[in-house]
Each structure stands twice: as C-alpha cells, then as structure tokens.
C-alpha cells in the first residue's frame, strides 16, 4: 500500500483503476514557407474552426457545469481572435515565412510569458488559457485529435494538470475522480470536479508515478489522500465512507425541500451547528433551515490578540449574508474550561469546568464583551441574527448581559449605524441551575437552547472527557431528560421557543422524546440534518407522547435514573 498526500479540491471518495491522461504529442514540425498567402489562409481557416469548436464547447459546458464554465470558453473564443495575437502570427508567417504551426507556437509562448510574469495570480493563471487556445489551433492545423480516455471501464484520471478544454471534452461517464500533479483549488479541474460532484485531489507533485497506471487507487477528497493498492482494513474503511456518502446523497435526493413534519402534522425546525462562516455551504447543501449554534470562538482562536470589532463584523456579516435571510444564532464567546486562549491570560484553575468561563469571562471583562456585541449588532443589518449567551446560572447574569446589548444599541443609534431592531436574545441552558430557574429566565429572553453536553456533565457531576467514566456519563439519564422537559414546559408557559444544540439533538433514539416534550428546534451538524428529517417524518408523536411523558414522570420504569 502506498499513501500519497495531496490537497482535496473536491470532496467524496472514489475507487478505481488509475489512468494517465493521454495527450497529443505537442512537438510540431518547423519549416520555411514560400506561399505566405496560402499559409495565412490555412491559419485563418484553423482559427475559424477553433472558434466554432469553442462555441460548441461553451454550450456543452453550460449544460454540464453551468454558465460560469461556459464563459471560460467564450473568453477563449475572444482570445483566439485577439487582434495582437493575430497580428503577431501574421507577422511570423508573412514576414519571417514561418509555417502556421510554428507561428502559433511562438506567439502562444510570447503571450503566455507575458501573463506568467504578471504579479497577479489571476492573470498568471491566464497563461494556461492562451496555451490551451493555441494548442487547439495547432491541433486543427496538424490534424491531431486531442487525447481522451481509452478505457472500457471507468477510471481515476491522473494528469499533470488538465486544461479546461481537456476537462470538458472528457467522457464523464468514464471518470470516477481526478488526481493532478499541479493545480490549485481554483483551477478549472477543481471547479469542474466540484460541479460534477466527483472527488479531485490536486498538488500531489512527483509522488504520483506512471508505473501506478492500471493499479487500483482510492481517492479521499475530504482528506486529500490517494491510496494505491490499499490494504484490506484501509479499503474497508474508505469503502464504508463512500457508502455513507452515497446514502447521504440518496437521502438528499429523497428529502431535499421536504418539511421536518411528523406523520401527525407536527413541525419542528432543524438547524445546524457551525464553527466558522466556511461551514455555511455545508449547511445549505444539507438543506437545513438555519444555524442554531454558530460558535464564535474560532475568531479568537485564529488570532494572536483580541480580534477587532471590524474583523468580527466581517465574519458575522459573511455568515449572515451567505445564509440569505435564514436565522443564524451566534453564541457569544465561550472560552475557559477545555478551551484556553493564551492572550486572555486566564490564571490556571484547579477546576476549570466550574471556573471562569464563557459568559462569566465576558461579564468580568466587559471591554471584550462590548467589542463582540457591537460587531454582532452591526452585522445584524445583513441577515436574520439571534444572539445567545452561554453558561448562564442566574437571572442577574442575563440582565447584565442584556444591559450590554442596550448600551450597544444606544451607541449605534447615536452613531447613525444601521442595525436590526428585532434581534432575538436567548441563552443556553447547560447548567442544572439554569434548568431549575428556567421559569424565571424565560421571562428575560426570547429563546432557550439546551447545550446537552455540558448539561449532562454538570447534572451528573461527570467529566465527559475522562475515559474511565464512560459508563457513568449517560446523556440519556432520567435527570437530564427531566430537566429538558422542565425547560420546555417553562419556555412554552412564557411563550418562547426552545431548542437543543448539543450532540444529543442528533441522537435518533431520542427524537421521539424530544418531539413528545415539545422541543421546537434541533440544531445538529450539517451531515445529521437529513437522517434527522427522515426520522421526524417517520414519527407519529400523538401515538407515543403519553407513554413517553408517563415514563419521564414515573418513579420506576424504563428510563435509567
């Protein structure tokens, strides 16, 4: 087994024989010509033919990969008829008496050089376009057809780097995935692979060797791994991953656009947990209704010093606008305990889970909190924002946090900065204290979201990171479920909504219980959205509700307490 590390440019797993892209030989004959007019006419005919082919390719690309891919070939058409390009070729033919193939080759090199030496990466990448267009004209002049895939079975296609016209002309039914030696994430191969929905791994360099041709390889576009002749265990693992992705895709085809509605007509919102604006595409791809937990810690973890208001504003704004008006619940800074950041200089604690963390840090260090709340309200003008405070235990903490929101709103009004007046403010319920006083907390906020990881750890006084405590750490414990029911009841009595954003939300064994106690929203990782939707659609709440509630309240019975 040989493992090669490249860069994943399009996700997915594929398995198949490796096949090297066959390229037409690019060596051309050079000779002096006598009849310059005839040679010029020969070039003009080839140029016309190339423009015609590019027009056809543009249409093919439009159907297969969309308008953007089509535009590329339209640009190529324009390059083929560029005045300077044409004049340079004309001069080479008519004045220097070069044959058309040589004239095109030399002119292409000259223009490609001009682009390659520019200091802008976008323009540098255009060098490949000039060569691609020129190779097409040369191909027509010499009568050599561009190489394709000469294999009876579908293959993993390897190449140094594929030109856009090469990619679009390939027989798609023969390709399972791409591996290229060079290339960047924004290269045409990568873009087309993503649109086609097949894996691509780029930048493997010289690790890929021609002698691997014909051997079985597995591509994992998520990790950028190329495995040649995988051993049994690796193969089994990757095949399982491929199977899972296939299932996910099937679920998507089946369930996309359908409501999260039970058999008896009860609807529930399914949202996603994310850690940065980069996760938004996965949220949309899995058809979630919104973001139920946006962890803002990444902004702080990515910096060497406190992130500025502007930096935070841009990140929140991006997530909100990319979500296109769907709700995004952003949780304010949650550090301390297992998440430490050097520049905060938080003193070492003997018992960090019980220590200076999350909202406590924010209330103790109002200047940090102020920056974040300002960035959030400014971003609220660009989408549907909700703000959520983590690690609440008392009513006064919530009031103090809300005071900060009021202060910021007043400042922004005075400064004439636009923000959304209707931003919802909510809290996480992740301590037993918050659950027990949730009737009072409900009067202070617009929503609750239960963080079941911490709620379980604090309720059961059990460290979830301690491997020796596995059998003591039970998120299905009656105490946790009773707390959730209590929180639900208190929320609904006060007319506010309640969600779950901990890992438990995606636990399909508890979906019926959550529906029975009246949870309004479940926020889960993007890949868990569709399995959850499927489970919800199979459930009949009315039929199971009474029994589940009775079990929760019973002093003996099925649920472990």
């Amino acid at each position: 087994m040989i493992t090669i590390q490249g860069k994943g440019a399009s996700t997915g797993v594929a398995i198949g024989p490796l096949y090297y892209y066959q390229r037409a030989k690019s060596t051309i004959r050079r000779y002096q010509i006598d009849d310059t007019e005839a040679e010029w006419a020969r070039f003009k005919a080839a140029q016309e033919k190339a423009i015609e082919q590019l027009g056809e390719l543009a249409e093919k690309a439009r159907v297969e990969a969309g308008d953007e891919a089509a535009m590329l070939f339209e640009t190529h058409q324009m390059m083929a008829e560029d005045m300077d390009y044409e004049e340079a070729i004309q001069a080479a033919i008519q004045e220097e008496k070069h044959n058309a193939e040589a004239a095109v080759t030399d002119t292409a090199a000259q223009f490609a050089d001009m682009f390659a030496t520019m200091d802008d990466p976008y323009m540098q990448a255009r060098a490949a376009d000039v060569k691609d267009v020129s190779n097409r004209i040369i191909g027509i002049l010499t009568g050599v057809v561009q190489g394709g895939i000469n294999s009876p079975v579908p293959v993993i296609l390897a190449a140094d780097d594929l030109a856009p016209s090469e990619t679009v002309q390939l027989d798609k039914s023969k390709i399972l995935g791409f591996v290229t030696e060079g290339g960047s994430g924004s290269s045409h191969t990568a873009i087309l692979a993503r649109t086609m929905g097949i894996p691509a791994i780029i930048g493997v360099g010289s690790q890929m060797k021609p002698e691997y041709e014909g051997r079985e390889v597995i591509l994992d576009g998520n990790t950028g791994n190329v495995v040649v002749e995988a051993d049994e265990a690796t193969k089994a693992r990757l095949l399982l991953k491929m199977e899972e992705q296939k299932k996910q895709q099937e679920l998507l085809n089946q369930l996309k656009g359908l409501p999260n509605e039970t058999k008896d007509g009860h609807q529930i919102r399914v949202y996603c947990n994310i850690g940065s604006p980069d996760d938004v595409p996965a949220v949309l791809k899995n058809d979630a209704g919104g973001v139920g937990l946006f962890r803002s810690e990444f902004l702080y973890l990515n910096c060497d010093d406190y992130p500025s208001e502007e930096y935070q504003f841009e990140a929140y704004k991006k997530a909100l606008s990319d979500m296109g008006g769907r709700e995004v619940v952003i949780r304010t800074l949650d550090i301390g305990a297992d998440k430490q950041i050097g520049y905060f200089n938080l003193p070492h604690e003997e018992n960090p889970a019980m220590g200076n963390r999350a909202l406590r840090v924010c209330l103790n260090r109002p200047e940090i909190f102020h920056t974040q709340i300002r960035a959030l309200y400014r971003a609220s003008a660009f989408g549907k924002l909700s703000i959520m405070f983590p690690m609440v235990t008392s009513v006064w903490e919530v009031r103090e946090a809300k005071k900060m929101c009021d202060r910021v709103k007043k400042e922004l009004t005075e400064e004439g900065i636009h923000f959304d007046e209707d931003v919802q403010v909510g809290i996480m319920i992740e301590t037993p204290a918050a659950a027990l006083v949730s009737d009072r907390l409900a009067k202070e906020v617009d929503f609750f979201s239960c963080g079941t990881n911490d709620l379980t750890q604090y309720t059961l006084a059990c460290d979830r990171q301690n491997d020796d405590l596995g059998r003591f750490f039970n998120p299905h414990h009656l105490a946790v479920l009773r707390e959730l029911k209590m929180v639900c009841d208190n929320a609904h009595k006060n007319g506010i909504w309640v969600g779950i954003c901990g890992e438990l939300g995606a636990d399909l064994k508890l979906t019926e219980t959550f529906l029975a106690i009246g949870i309004d929203e479940l926020s889960v990782s993007p890949r868990a959205v569709l399995p959850l939707r499927q489970k919800i659609r199979e459930t009949n709440v009315a039929a199971v509700k009474d029994k589940i509630i009775a079990d929760l309240l019973s002093d003996e019975g099925a649920i472990v307490g």
Binding site: Q77, Y85, D120, R126
Partner: protein, 85 residues
C-alpha cells in the same frame, strides 16, 4: 474626443470575460476607444493587451472615445464600465 475616468471596483480588476466583451463591443463602433493607465495606452479592441495592463481593483483608468460617433458611444462605454468593472 470624449473621455472619462473610472476607478475599478471589481476585486479581480479588468478580468478576462468582461474585457473580452468590451473588445467585441469596441469593434462595433467607428470611434477608437482606448484605455490609459499611467503611461500605457491600449486599444480597447485588443483583449490580451487590456489584460496585460494588469489593472487592479482601486486603480483609476482614463477611457477615451475618439471618432465621428463619439457622442453616442461614450455613454454606452461608461455604463459598460460601471456594470462590469
């Protein structure tokens, strides 16, 4: 002769496709349309020369329209710049 100044707002600058459309557009008119950045002036009909100028976001260029139909062409070209660059 008519001319206007324009500051590029597109993050990629004078990139390939709109520059190509501009080149095509420029061929339709009798007037010669040229783009000047600093000391360099190029004919707007020449796609690769325009791209070769390396005009970036934030750069200001002067666009000149010179010929019998300049009165009609100038506003069309100005709108084109606003919409595409």
């Amino acid at each position: 002769m008519k001319s206007f100044e324009y500051t590029i707002t597109d993050p990629v600058g004078l990139h390939a496709r709109p520059a190509g459309v501009l080149a095509k557009e420029a061929k339709k008119y009798t007037s010669i349309i040229s783009i000047t950045k600093g000391e360099k002036t190029v004919d707007a009909r020449k796609l690769m020369a325009i791209m070769g100028m390396g005009v970036k976001q934030g750069d200001t260029v002067t666009v000149t329209i010179d010929g019998p139909d300049e009165e009609t062409v100038a506003p069309i070209i100005e709108t084109f710049f606003k919409e595409n660059f």
